[in-house]
């Protein structure tokens, strides 16, 4: 079992965000990036070790994207909006914000 920390990072502006991790759905509303740290909010979930599929949708902006990664122990996932595109990144170490 791995722990996945999901960070909604840059480009959010009072958005409703739907995140699906291997089919398990999370919904966050009013998501707004705090510009001085480049982060809106973070939350954690547990996933089975192995390949994880993450689907993200911002319905009011007609934006969606999908990402796959291999989860193992601890994994950090960062999601950002840039224009009309969703960007993903992941790491086994915590992302730093300042």
């Amino acid at each position: 079992m791995a722990t996945m920390n999901i960070a909604l990072e840059e480009g959010f502006d009072n958005d409703r965000v739907l995140v699906s991790v291997n089919g398990k759905r999370f919904e966050r509303s009013g998501v707004t990036t705090k510009l001085q740290i480049g982060l809106a909010e973070q939350f954690e979930t547990h996933v089975a070790d192995g390949t994880v599929t993450i689907d993200v949708e911002l319905p009011e902006r007609s934006l969606n994207g999908s990402y796959e990664l291999d989860a193992n122990d601890m994994v950090y996932l960062g999601i950002s909006v840039e224009g009309q595109t969703l960007h993903f990144r992941h790491s086994s170490q915590t992302f730093g914000y300042a």
Binding site: A7, E10, D13, T32, T33, K34, L35, Q36, I37, G38, Q42, T94, F95, G96, Y97, A98
Partner: protein
């Protein structure tokens, strides 16, 4: 023979109204009273830029920025590429600058700036004031159990630019090199009890803000070139947050920042040599402190330079610089990550950031500068030695006490106090273009009143004989900046009229706004102090803002004994009592729908207005009272309700014996 180090000429120069040895060669177009010049052509990180701030009249300020190149024959010249403020009154597009210096190793004495292109050329001489562009104060405190980390030995880690000087660099020195004369607060090194972080001993933004309120010795409810830098263990967000400029609430923002010593900045990567781990940590801590402090200057992250969000964006068009080597970038996000960043990082802000910090209009940069003109008032206004006019503000109430919800209407009077007739624009008061009003509630920052509309009038001039005056009314409670007078308390109001070379400052008026009488008033206030209601009151009615009309009707119906009901009755009656046409659509076809005048409803609504003319005059002011009586009377007469109109006029006649002399709404000469 020892070489002589040239004394930098960059820095701050100032011009005052009566400098001892510097007079303008030719007069400016405008009554500019105080000016600053920032010359940035040598010294540390020169930006080849000059910028200036001029105060025009009482309320006007123009900030300008020019890019300079060396001029043939000495000095510099360049084009003004940025203006902010009353730009229409400052047409110049070129500057030429020379510096007066006894010799190159001595401090400069002054600089001469010639403005041209866009107006009659004029020259100004500014006196040297400082080698820095601004002064500022830093206070460094820490939580119990944490330490303040002010410096970094740039030679301590081997991964660095080959050209980097090995030195013990301090946070203060970083900002000195950015152009700020940094002083360290005597209140520094306060140990802030960790209990302020709550039971989890991790700081939330609110707890940080509270700690700043209590422990920052320089705290003031005003913009100030000062910052509180707080070192603590961890934010409640955990080790992922190395620091934060947490101060983004309230009227004064960007004054406080925190560094979390035990966050990820304390964890070197696995490959870091044990010999350099301490230097790695020290370096990241130092970077974080300078990064967060940079945010207090309104600097964005390098990759956000072009970002506009929530109606806020860059001060000039910018491009994102995700690879920039600046304190404002994340070292671990560049190509090649942290090692690549520090390999050619010179512990500085990049040029576009320095340009902003040194030369952007102060209100963009100065910490806490959210409300313009706060604590300036009119203390520095330049008043003529022998004034030609006197500017008075008054009310027609027996005492300067206002009920809760009661709008404030001032009477302005411009009087010729000279012994000669004076020509003045007939609508000099009515247009509000030249009138500046400052309102300050005790305990709150001052606000400048911004009317919903400026009116453009044909500028006929009228002659005022000695002792004659022009008068007009001013609804000052609400404007485009919201309701300036709403909460109970004491308010100070002062106006000024920018009249050519003379700033005519009014008397100061103190008023008191009472607390609500009951819960009903409190409930209505939630809807009453809105933009819609403010606009309806300011424009004497609206057929479009129906929700606002509903609030006004509620006041008339529920609070008929209150003075606010008189104010609300007028726009409602003026709206109800006339025919209107509204555009509507029937199956997609546009059509005009006519609404008949409802004289009965208008008359009923006017009950608070009619019931006690003395009270009505007191709250509306005699100018507005007479104006409304005439306008309502005409409207009612035309609608066939001459009897009601006559009742208004009867009241008018009665009132004249007890009120101020009759004046029309609008500029009018009276003796």
């Amino acid at each position: 023979m020892p070489s002589i180090t040239p004394f930098p000429v960059s820095g701050l120069y100032t011009w005052q109204d009566t400098p001892t040895n510097a007079q303008p060669v030719a007069g400016p177009l405008l009554p500019i009273r105080r000016e600053e010049l920032r010359l940035d052509v040598d010294g540390r990180y020169p930006q080849m830029t000059a910028s200036g701030i001029a105060t025009i009249g009482l309320a006007g300020r123009v900030a300008w920025i020019a890019t300079l190149t060396p001029a043939a024959g000495g000095g510099w010249s360049g084009l003004i590429w940025f203006k902010d403020g009353l730009t229409a009154l400052f047409g110049y597009t070129k500057v030429s600058i020379t510096v007066q210096q006894p010799n190159t190793s001595a401090a400069p004495l002054s600089t001469t700036v010639t403005f041209s292109d866009g107006g009659p050329e004029f020259t100004r001489v500014y006196q040297y004031a400082s080698g820095f562009f601004h002064t500022m104060n830093m206070e460094f405190d820490c939580a119990t159990g944490s330490a303040v980390n002010l410096d970094f030995d740039t030679g301590s880690h081997p991964n660095r630019p080959a050209s980097l000087a090995k030195e013990k660099l301090t946070i203060q020195e970083v900002f000195k090199r950015a152009g700020f004369d940094v002083t360290t607060s005597a209140g520094s090194n306060t140990k802030v009890p960790i209990k302020g972080a709550g039971s989890n001993a991790k700081w939330s933004n609110q707890e940080l803000h509270d700690a700043m309120q209590v422990h920052w010795s320089q705290r003031a409810a005003q913009a100030k070139w000062a910052v509180w830098v707080f070192f603590a263990s961890l934010h409640e967000q955990g080790t992922g947050l190395g620091g934060i400029m947490f101060d983004d609430i309230g009227a004064q923002q960007r004054q406080g920042t925190a560094i979390f010593n035990d966050a990820f900045i304390k964890t070197p990567p696995p490959g870091e040599s044990p010999i350099t781990k301490a230097a790695w940590i020290d370096r990241m801590n130092f970077w974080t402190a300078c990064h967060e402090t940079g945010h207090t200057f309104n600097l964005a992250h390098s990759w956000q330079k072009a970002l506009a969000s929530g109606g806020k964006g860059p001060w000039i068009p910018m491009t994102n610089l995700p690879e920039a080597r600046t304190f404002m970038n994340y070292p671990y996000n560049v190509e090649g990550k942290t090692p690549a960043f520090f390999k050619n990082f010179e512990y500085r802000f990049i040029d576009q950031e320095l340009l902003f910090m040194r030369h952007a209009p102060e209100r963009f940069v100065e910490q806490g500068n959210a409300v313009w003109f706060d604590h300036h008032g009119f203390e520095q206004a330049n008043v003529a030695d022998q004034p030609v006019f006197r500017f008075d503000i008054s009310i027609d109430k027996p005492s300067a006490s206002y009920e809760f919800l009661e709008p404030v209407v001032l009477e302005m009077r411009l009087t010729n106090v000279s012994d000669q007739p004076q020509l003045v624009p007939e609508n000099v008061l009515k247009s509000l273009e030249r009138v500046t009003a400052i309102i300050k509630r005790d305990g709150d920052p001052a606000k400048q009143y911004a009317p919903y509309a400026h009116y453009c009038y044909h500028s006929d001039e009228v002659s005022l004989k000695p002792g004659e005056c022009l008068s007009d009314s001013l609804f000052i409670s609400a404007g485009t900046m919201g309701w300036s007078i709403s909460e109970p308390g004491y308010y100070t109001i002062q106006l000024a009229l920018d009249y050519g070379a003379e700033e005519i400052v009014s008397n100061v008026m103190r008023i008191r706004v009472a607390i609500p009488n009951d819960r009903d008033e409190e409930r209505i206030a939630q809807d009453y102090f809105s933009d819609h209601v403010g606009r309806i009151l300011a424009f004497d009615g609206s057929t479009f803002l129906t929700a606002g009309n509903g609030v006004l009707q509620l006041v008339v119906d529920r609070l008929p004994h209150c003075n606010a009901a008189i104010h609300c009755a007028v726009p409602l009656a003026l709206t109800m009592g006339r025919e209107t046409q509204a555009l509507s659509y029937d199956d997609g076809m546009p059509m005009l729908t006519k609404t008949n005048a409802d004289v009965g409803a208008a008359t009923a609504t006017l009950a608070p207005f009619i019931s006690d003319s003395n009270r009505t005059i007191a709250t509306l002011g005699a100018i507005d009272y007479d104006y409304y009586v005439a306008r309502l009377g005409n409207m009612l007469s035309q609608a066939g309700a001459g009897n009601v109109a006559e009742r208004l006029r009867i009241r008018e006649k009665k009132s004249k014996s007890t009120a101020a002399p009759a004046k029309s709404k609008g500029a009018r000469a009276t003796k």
